[in-house]
Each structure stands twice: as C-alpha cells, then as structure tokens.
C-alpha cells in the first residue's frame, strides 16, 4: 500500500481533541470501553450490596440491616447484576470486539451506538437515585404483583423499577438492532456466515432474542406504571385484572433474558478455548447451531418459573418437556469444548483457567437446572435457598467467570499492555474457592427449608453453619475480585507491551495493533476460513477507502462486496437525545408532567435533527 494512501486514511480518521469530541465520540472501541468500565462500577456496587446481605445473614437474629433496607438491598443487587452489570458488560465486549472480529471499521450505526451507551448510563443512575433517597425498588428483581401495586406499595420505590427498566429497554433494543445489522452487513469480504467467529454468532443470537424478548418487559413495566400512576387495571382482580398476568409477561421476557446473558458469555468461552488449546474449535457448525437453537428454545420455557403458581397440569408438562430439551444444545457445546481441549495441546493461562472454572460451575448449575424441570421437585424447593444456589451457579458461573476470562484475554488488545500472570492465577483461585464456598452451602440450606429473601432467621433451624460458611466464602470472593482490580491497575501502569498478538490467536482483532488505530484496519482484510489468523490464506486486501469515514458493506450470507458506506463522525446529538429521555423519566417519577411533556418535545426535535439527510450525498464507489 502506498504510504500516501495510508497518510490520507490517517488524516480522515483523526479524532479532534477537547470535551465536545470526547462526549460526542462514535468510535465503537471508546464506547465499548465505556460500557465495560461503567458496568464494572455497577458490579462493584452490586458486590457491596451482596456483602451487606451476607453480613446480615452471617448469624441468626442480626441487625445490620432492617427489613425494609434488606428488601431494597436484595432487589437492587438482583437488578444491578442482571440489568446494569452482566448485560451491558457483554454489550461492552460486543461493541469493542464485533467490528474488529469481522474486519469492519465501526458498527453499522455509530451514533446509535453512542446513544445506547448514554441511555444505559442514564437509566442506571436513575435506578440508583432511588437508593440515594431511600426509596429503591424493594420487591425483588421480578417484582410480582400484587405487592407492586396499591395498597401494598405506596412509595415511589416501584416507580423507579418500572420507569427505569422502560428507559433501559431503549438502550438494549437499539444495541441489538445495531449488532444484527453490523453482523449481517459489515463483515469483511470472504467472511461468509459459516466463517464468522462463534462470539459473533453468540452476539447475533442474543440480539435476536432481545428483539423478541424486551417488548414483553416493556409491556409488563408499562402496564404496571399505568396502573400505579393513573389507576388503570391490569394486575388487580377487583378491577377485572389478574396478578398472574404479570408473571407471564415478566417471564416471557425473563427466561430468554437468561440466555441473553448466557450466550455472549458462552461466546467468550468458545473463543478462548481454541486459542489456548492451540487448535480450531471442534464441531464449529454444531456450536453455531446450538447457539441459535438455545436462543430460540429459550422462548418456550418461561412457565418453569411458575410451576408452583397453580397452573393447569397439561401446560406444566409441556413446559417441563421444553425445559429438559434445552439441555441438549448446552450439552453439544460442552462436549465440543471438551473435545477441543482433548484434541489440542492446552496451555494454562489466566483466561483459560477462568474458562475451566466456568465449565465446572456451569455444569453443576446446569444439573440443578435440569432438576427443576421435574415438577414435584421444583414445587418442593420453590422460593428456597436451593433456587438462589442454582441461579448463582448458572449466572455467576455461566456469565461472570467468562467475563473475567474475557477481561484477562482482551486486556492486552484494549490497552496494549499485559496483565500479571501470577496475580491473575491467584485471583482465579480466590474467586473459584470463594464462589463455591459462598454458594454451595446454599443448596443445603435450601433443602433444609431456608426460604429466600428473608432478612433474618432464628437459630436452631439447622441453617446457622451453612450461612456462616457462605459469608466466609463471600469474603474470599471479594478478595478475589479485589485481586483482579489490583491486576488491572498495575497492568495499566506497569504492564509490559503486548504487541499485536500476544496469544497467537485465530481471530481478526489480533491482526491489527494493540490498541487498534481509529480505523481498525488500514487495508480491509479478506477472509478465507473460520480461523483467519491461522489459515495462512486470509490476508489484507488492496482495499483502503482512504477518504472520509468509509467501511465496506457486504452481502448478508456470502459476504461479497456490496458497497462502500460513509460513516458519521463525532456528534453531540446522541447525548442530547439520551439526556432529553432522562428528563422525561425524571418528570414522570416526580409527577412533573409539564417537564415530561417538554422533554418529550425535546426528544422529538433532537431525533428530527439527527435524521436530516446528510450533507455528503451518495458515496461514489471507488474507481
């Protein structure tokens, strides 16, 4: 490539300095890092809430928290972990990595991407502002009616829940739209759909699930807020409604959401295992299909959250069968990973250790999950600590271990520096031991009858020792998390340079420098297999597109070149639109309807300004 062309490319993509450029950036890497850091801060907040609960439950009859505080703390812990940590954390990985993995220069809609981040931040702060004034949601993360409506809920607590989740749903939805179009339209030439990295398959399956699942949450929270604010009737029998309706609406969203959380995490696992086993993933096609099948089947199992409600036996049987079937695609993936490790020559490094930790905990959580599909067993342990143990094994084991693996694996790409291997391995053992010590005893406490969500318990129930063990475990878990934090801080300051490809990996993000330049790839890569880093055939092409912010678009299945797209540069409009929506929410919660309406008009005006035709006009194809 001519040096002059490279210089033109660099000039086109240079980002101006200053506050406006910083707030208005649309670079998917910067937005991705923002997602990762913000979600990590929410993780620490949720960790503090968890520590408070474990302190309260360490021994019987404690008074660290009063009952109302305890309700708010466990509700915020669940809401934060699900909505403000795991989902956005994985969005952060997706934002940073998907364009790099598919050889693109940005997401399909860069300004929408920035908008999604600002909305996420606003919604998170909105939900936490309830905690600051002592009126946070206090009815758990699934917020069953009728405890969520008058006369059982009088303060604004549940309004923070309903309006906050409506607000956050915008961010999740636009993020999913962006991922789907990016993955279908922006892959590098030659990366046909059967050569796409498994992580991208996972993000695609997750995004499709989001498109169909979030509307159900939107309906549930929207109807709830209409009932609370204006006296509509949906969930109260006196007005002709039905509290069980809430459970259906919530879990039609809520169970797919488990896979929305789990699939990208599994995508990280399928990425890390081949690299550290030094061979391609065994049964790539099956893993890709299993990923899509899990997303699809996830929509057919929601009633297994409601086995104890009193629904007709025939519908219970159907959903029990569906819940058993969903173990099949998960099993396919587990065996593909095991075969990859068996056929390869594994090299133990911190990311790989965390993946092994994932395998152990996830299989345990999966086994207790299959137990719930047996209806009589489920009815025995419903609302007991056995359930708490199970879902921490699948969610902490299934999502947080892979996230920790991802942090250690991509830290060199994102920062250009290596983490310390000894601190990394030490952190793994602390997290692994701490996790199992915290959550394994909960299985037993649950089987002994300890109900979840109680703020304290009397002694003499036989639960004391298991609770004390859990609390000791949580201290070790906190130490492990702190070790990761220390490692990240020291890595940023003193880590040795990573170079472009410290792991000799197979995917495209490792074929550019660490951290990557604003345009990601100087020459658009051409892909010849599912392992472009290893096949010896995939290489940079002569396509540079040095003018403006251009990236090639390709056809959805075969990835033949279709067009060159002109991408937008920095803009403050996404931030303005998100801020206006935040004002709408503030107006609604404070009953200042004039503010909500004025802010709504501001939203419309910003969106109109955003969507005026661009001045640049149609892009001429390169000669």
């Amino acid at each position: 490539m001519a040096t002059a062309e490279l210089r033109r490319l660099e000039r086109s993509w240079v980002e101006p300095h200053g506050l406006v450029a910083r707030l208005g950036t649309v670079d998917h890497k910067k937005i991705g890092v923002r997602y990762l850091v913000t979600a990590a801060v929410f993780f620490l907040a949720a960790g503090i809430e968890a520590a408070l609960m474990r302190a309260q439950l360490a021994r019987p009859d404690q008074n660290v928290l009063d009952p109302e505080q305890y309700n708010q703390v466990f509700s915020m812990h669940g809401l934060t972990m699900i909505f403000l940590f795991v989902t956005p954390m994985l969005s952060g990985f997706g934002n940073y990595l998907v364009p790099l993995m598919i050889g693109a220069r940005d997401m399909a809609f860069p300004r929408l991407n920035a908008f999604g981040y600002w909305v996420f931040l606003g919604a998170g702060l909105f939900m936490y502002s309830g905690l600051l004034i002592g009126d946070a949601p206090d009815n758990g993360w699934f917020n069953y009616a009728p405890l969520s409506i008058q006369p059982f809920s009088v303060g604004p607590n549940i309004d923070f829940y309903a309006i906050g989740l409506l607000f956050l749903g915008i961010s999740t939805t636009v993020g999913a739209v962006n991922f789907i179009v990016t993955i279908l339209k922006l892959r590098a030439p030659g990366m046909s759909i059967n050569r796409m990295p498994i992580f991208c398959w996972a993000v695609l399956a997750t995004s499709i699930s989001i498109v169909f699942a979030i509307p159900s949450l939107t309906v549930a929270t929207g109807l709830l807020e209409l009932q609370r604010a204006w006296g509509f009737h949906f969930f109260d029998t006196a007005g002709g409604g039905d509290p069980v309706l809430w459970q259906h609406l919530f879990w039609i969203f809520g169970h797919p959401d488990v896979y929305i959380i789990f699939l990208p995490a599994v995508g990280i696992v399928s990425t890390v295992i081949p690299v550290f086993s030094r061979r391609s993933l065994v049964a790539y096609d099956w893993v890709a299909l299993a990923t899509m099948a899990t997303g699809l089947l996830g929509f057919g199992v929601w009633v297994h959250h409601m086995f104890a409600v009193g629904l007709p036996q025939v519908s219970l049987t159907f959903f029990a069968a569906a819940s058993t079937i969903i173990a099949i695609p998960s099993g396919i993936q587990v065996f593909a990973w095991l075969a990859t490790m068996l056929k390869g020559a594994p090299v133990i490094r911190t990311p790989f250790l965390y993946v092994l930790g994932f395998l152990v905990t996830f299989v345990i959580g999966g086994l207790s999950g299959v137990m719930f599909a047996a209806i009589p067993f489920d009815q025995q342990v419903t609302d007991s600590y056995f359930v708490v143990a199970h879902f921490h094994y699948v969610l902490f084991g299934g999502a947080v271990f892979p996230i920790f693996a991802g942090i250690h694996y991509w830290f060199p790409k994102i920062t250009g520096r290596m983490l310390d291997e000894r601190i990394g391995q030490a952190s793994f053992w602390l997290v692994f031991v701490g996790f199992n010590l915290t959550f394994f005893p909960m299985h037993i406490a649950g089987l002994l009858g300890m109900p979840r969500r109680v703020y304290t318990y009397p002694s003499g129930m036989g639960w004391d020792v298991y609770n004390l063990l859990s609390t000791i475990g949580s201290v070790i878990l906190v130490l492990g998390t702190l070790a990761i934090l220390v490692n990240v801080v020291q890595g940023l300051a003193f880590g040795p340079p990573a170079g472009p490809d410290p792991w000799s990996a197979n995917t495209l993000e490792w074929s550019t420098s660490s951290p990557p330049p604003p345009y990601n790839f100087a020459q658009i890569p051409v892909v010849r297999s599912a392992d472009p880093g290893w096949d010896g055939l995939s290489e940079p092409s002569d396509l540079v597109l040095p003018e403006g912010h251009q990236t090639p678009a390709t056809m959805p299945l075969d990835a033949d070149l279709a067009a060159a797209l002109e991408m937008p540069s920095e803009s403050l409009v996404p931030l303005a639109a998100a801020a206006a929506i935040a004002l709408v929410c503030a107006g609604l919660i404070a009953d200042l309807y004039w503010l909500a309406i004025a802010a709504g008009v501001a939203v419309a005006l910003t969106l109109a300004f955003w969507h005026g035709p661009r001045e640049t006009g149609p892009v001429e194809p390169a000669p």
Partner: protein
C-alpha cells in the same frame, strides 16, 4: 495482497432499511404481546365480554379508519416508487396523500375517543384499560409516523431525494406500512372479536 473490487453500483438494501426492519419487528412483537394480554384477560375473566354490561364496540368509525389506513399504505408505496424511478411529482403527491389520510385517521380516532369516554374510561375496569392502552399506543405510532412523513416531505421539497439517495423515503414508507398492518390486527382484536 489480495485484490478486491467494489461493485460499480451498491448492491442490496441499505443498512438503514435493515435497521428499520428490525425496529418494526420488535414493535410488532410489542403489539403482539399487548393483544395476547387482551385475550388473556378476556378468557380469564368470568361472564360476558365486554364486562360490566358494556355494549360491543360500534363499527362505523373504525371501519372508515381502517379503509383510510389501507389507502394510505398504497399512497406510501406510490411515493416509494416515485423516489426510486426519479418521478418527483409522484413522490410529492404520494407523501402528501399519505399524510392527509393518516391525519384523517387520527381525527376520526379523536371523535371515537370523545364518544367512547362518556361511557367507558381507562380506569373503569381491565377492559377499558386495555382498550385505551392498545388503541392509544397505536395512535401514538400514527403520530410518530406522521412526524416522520412530514420530515421526509420537507426534505423531498428541498430536492434531497432526487437521485439514488432515497433511503429515507424507503425507510419512512416501511414504518408507515407497519403502522397500517398492525392496525388490522388491533381492529380485528378490539372491534371485531367481541362480536364473535
């Protein structure tokens, strides 16, 4: 180094169209779940439907509203065709007609609400809540559609969609078709099904 070549003309649908398609899919799911909620409430409530002695909804205005939206989808398609073939007169006429038809729909809905609110309010019972929530949400989609059409029209007059750059027209039309099709389901569920 591998040599690759861009096609002379862009092939396939633009990314903006794909984005709007997915937005429409998620919005359609939203309405599907609301209508499912309506039928869930109906079939889990004992006694006649509509409840509390409420008569079946009258059909005259809603039938006219349905015809208006059906016609507006045809005119939106005309506008699309006009922009694709460079026939600017057809583009402007199509957009204007779609806007006028959509606005008439909204005005009729206003009259319909005015009449209905005298006997049934959203806070009366679950039937009233669902009726106004679902039709109200659809009405707000009509308003958004009209704003999009007006904005597209404004730029059409300034000549923005003269040549190949007609993505905005295509995307606005796609959204408008959605507003039309989803109304057919709302109409069948809320107005026709109680008579079955």
């Amino acid at each position: 180094m591998t040599t690759v070549e861009l096609p002379v003309r862009p092939i396939g649908r633009p990314t903006g169209w794909w984005g709007m398609l997915i937005v429409v899919i998620t919005e359609a799911t939203l309405f599907a779940i609301l209508l499912a909620t309506y039928f869930y409430t109906r079939f889990s409530s004992p006694g006649p439907w509509p409840p509390d002695g409420e008569p079946d909804p009258r059909l005259l205005k809603p039938v006219i509203m349905t015809l208006l939206l059906m016609a507006s989808s045809v005119t939106a398609y005309m506008a699309e065709l006009g922009s694709r073939t460079g026939n600017l007169r057809r583009l402007h006429a199509g957009l204007a007609a779609t806007f006028a038809l959509g606005l008439s729909f909204l005005i009729l809905q206003g009259f319909e609400y005015h009449e209905k609110l005298a006997e049934l309010r959203p806070s009366t019972n679950a039937y009233g809540s669902l009726f106004y929530t679902i039709t109200g949400l659809h009405g707000s989609h009509v308003i958004v559609g009209l704003l999009i059409l007006a904005w597209t029209q404004f730029f059409a007059w300034r000549g923005a969609y003269a040549s190949e750059n007609h993505v905005a027209v295509q995307v606005s039309a796609l959204y408008w078709h959605f507003v039309h099709v989803v109304w057919l389901f709302v109409f069948a569920s809320l107005y026709l099904s109680p008579r079955l």
